[in-house]
């Protein structure tokens, strides 16, 4: 979806800035908003570019930095931690060869921490783009990663 088309979905009122940004980034392959796009968005909502930047840097799901096609977010809070989320993190790090905050060199995966996903009754949990995975074990994580890799090829 082009930026113009996406913007038309929202009334040109600054209260829709956050949702428009999130919508657009969700659809983009690198899940980020560029400087040029910020200029355009600011103009559409009639706000300053610095306001758009401050919103983008404030919310965890918005970014100015390009990310992988699949953003893997792992919960590191206590209910997941006491259900062995560390083993899930370790599996992800080993399999992907990256640490949280990094992106694989092929641009396929980014790894990030996230706040509680509200899936504590099925801990540990991760999120890949818009999909949540629960009741994880290292083996399940390996299988999930393979699925995503196959999807690419």
């Amino acid at each position: 979806m082009t930026l113009d088309l996406m913007l038309q979905k929202y009334p040109a009122s600054s209260e829709y800035l956050i949702e428009a940004l999130r919508d657009y980034q969700t659809a983009k392959i690198d899940h980020c908003v560029t400087e040029m796009e910020i200029v355009k968005i600011a103009k559409y909502f009639n706000v300053t570019e610095s306001k758009v930047c401050s919103v983008v840097s404030f919310y965890s799901f918005l970014s100015e930095k390009p990310k992988g096609k699949y953003v893997i977010r792992i919960c590191r809070d206590v209910p997941c931690f006491v259900n062995k989320s560390e083993s899930i993190l370790k599996t992800l790090e080993t399999r992907l060869g990256i640490k949280p905050g990094e992106t694989t060199t092929d641009g396929l995966f980014s790894l990030e921490f996230t706040g509680c996903l509200g899936q504590c009754d099925h801990a540990p949990a991760i999120r890949i783009n818009e999909k949540t995975y629960v009741d994880l074990t290292p083996d399940k994580v390996k299988a999930i990663l393979s699925e995503y890799r196959e999807e690419k090829s």
Partner: protein
């Protein structure tokens, strides 16, 4: 049977996508009763029920409702806080995914009683399924004339818009949430004025938690006096609990207030797995106290929780067995709040950095007596001087462990010299 299913009575029994199922099980009857039939005084029923907010702080709901009703503004808002981000809480997700219309009905009744003109539901964007179900429910309610113009043919217009977060815990704080709906960064405002006088877009606004709204149709249906007979003197009604951690049956359970925590863990949770010993329990979420085994006879009750000076009343119970080190748990809590602090006030912005630095000295067994004194006083200062609930409650796990697990801190000191 210690469960009492009032709010969760339709869970897994109706199709959440079917308004017909909701109506067939008595849904929207309280709304019609309140608006047309017996013309009961909603405000006085809620007052008699002594309902307290279910988001954690336990503020009397009737006070907010009456404050909003008194405002003469032509535009007034009702906001449902569905930004459930406190680690260990997932009961609002359960209501949204299993009985969405109960929330809408509570909002519509509240709007009618206070003459509010528009409602917002702010849902965190991570809750995909909740969002889908709530959107569908709003559409269905509109088609059936429970939302929109001239609701149920009387002279009352009210509609609801769903708004989504973008990954920010602090947006669950009421003023930060309003800022976020307005399209801004989620930074709290200085109060007073309170939202019921100057809220969303500067208009009078009442903000309640998901579960609080779901209680309103129940109160209208059974009457405030009957409702107040459930639970304890200070905490009426039932509470949805989010039970998680090292426990056999994790999940959402509904109990009347007054049940001991231990009974919940043993009877509903089925105890700790792998025959391990329970070491500690965190109440309310990451911002709540961590208590030892010998305090588990404590009943679930807002007044009983008051001694922790935190927002313990959201109903999260996180069980931890004897494998876990207190400092690993504390560091996770503090790192979470450090990331989620909005940065507006210094005690919270700087405080979490310093708490994390001091805690790491304890995990590394490099702490001194001076560090112990510093962490204690810093936690207190943050609690007393932070601008919003985040910084005021985030040190609770430290304050409580300094009280109940002090020997663990002493054990980690490099030396006992002052």
């Amino acid at each position: 049977m210690i469960e009492k299913k009032i709010i969760s009575k339709r869970f897994d029994k109706i199709d959440p996508y079917s308004i017909a199922d909701y109506i067939a099980t008595g849904g929207y009857k309280p709304l019609i009763k309140a608006m047309t039939g017996e013309r009961i005084d909603i405000l006085s029923e809620v007052e008699k029920s002594r309902l307290r907010g279910r988001g954690g702080a336990g503020f009397p709901v009737a006070i907010k409702m009456m404050a909003l009703a008194k405002e003469a503004a032509s535009v007034k808002y009702i906001v449902c806080n569905a930004d459930e981000g406190e680690p260990g809480n997932f009961k609002d997700r359960a209501i949204m995914e299993k009985d969405p219309h109960s929330i809408l009905e509570g909002m519509i009744i509240t709007a009618y009683a206070t003459r509010a003109t528009k409602g917002y539901i702010y849902i965190r964007c991570e809750y995909d399924k909740s969002i889908e179900i709530m959107r569908h429910a709003v559409d269905e309610a509109r088609k059936n004339h429970f939302l929109g113009l001239k609701i149920d043919k009387i002279d009352f217009d009210f509609d609801i818009e769903i708004r989504l977060g973008a990954g920010s815990y602090v947006c669950g704080e009421e003023f930060a949430l309003l800022e976020s709906i307005e399209g801004k960064t989620g930074r709290t405002r200085v109060k007073p004025p309170f939202p019921t006088s100057v809220g969303l877009f500067g208009k009078p606004t009442e903000i309640n938690n998901v579960e609080t709204f779901a209680n309103i149709p129940v109160i209208v249906d059974m009457g405030g006096d009957e409702f107040a007979k459930i639970g304890t003197k200070s905490s009426t009604g039932t509470k949805l609990l989010s039970l998680s951690g090292n426990v056999n049956n994790k999940g959402v359970y509904e109990i009347p207030f007054g049940i001991p925590i231990k009974t919940v863990i043993d009877e509903l949770g089925g105890g700790v797995p792998d025959s391990r010993a329970l070491k500690m329990v965190q109440l309310g979420g990451a911002c709540g106290p961590i208590i030892p085994r010998y305090l588990l006879d404590m009943i679930i009750d807002f007044d009983r929780f008051d001694e922790f000076e935190s927002k313990t009343g959201s109903g999260a119970i996180i069980v931890m067995d004897d494998r876990w080190d207190i400092f690993d748990i504390l560091l996770r809590n503090v790192d979470f709040f450090k990331h989620e602090s909005c940065g507006k006030c210094a005690p919270c912005r700087e405080g979490h950095n310093q708490l994390a630095r001091l805690l790491r000295k304890f995990t590394d067994r490099k702490a001194t007596v001076k560090d112990l004194i510093s962490i204690e006083s810093l936690a207190r200062v943050m609690h007393q001087t932070s601008l919003c609930g985040l910084g005021q409650t985030s040190p609770t796990s430290i304050i409580s462990t300094l009280r109940y697990f002090r020997e663990d801190y002493i054990d980690r000191l490099e030396s006992l010299e002052v």
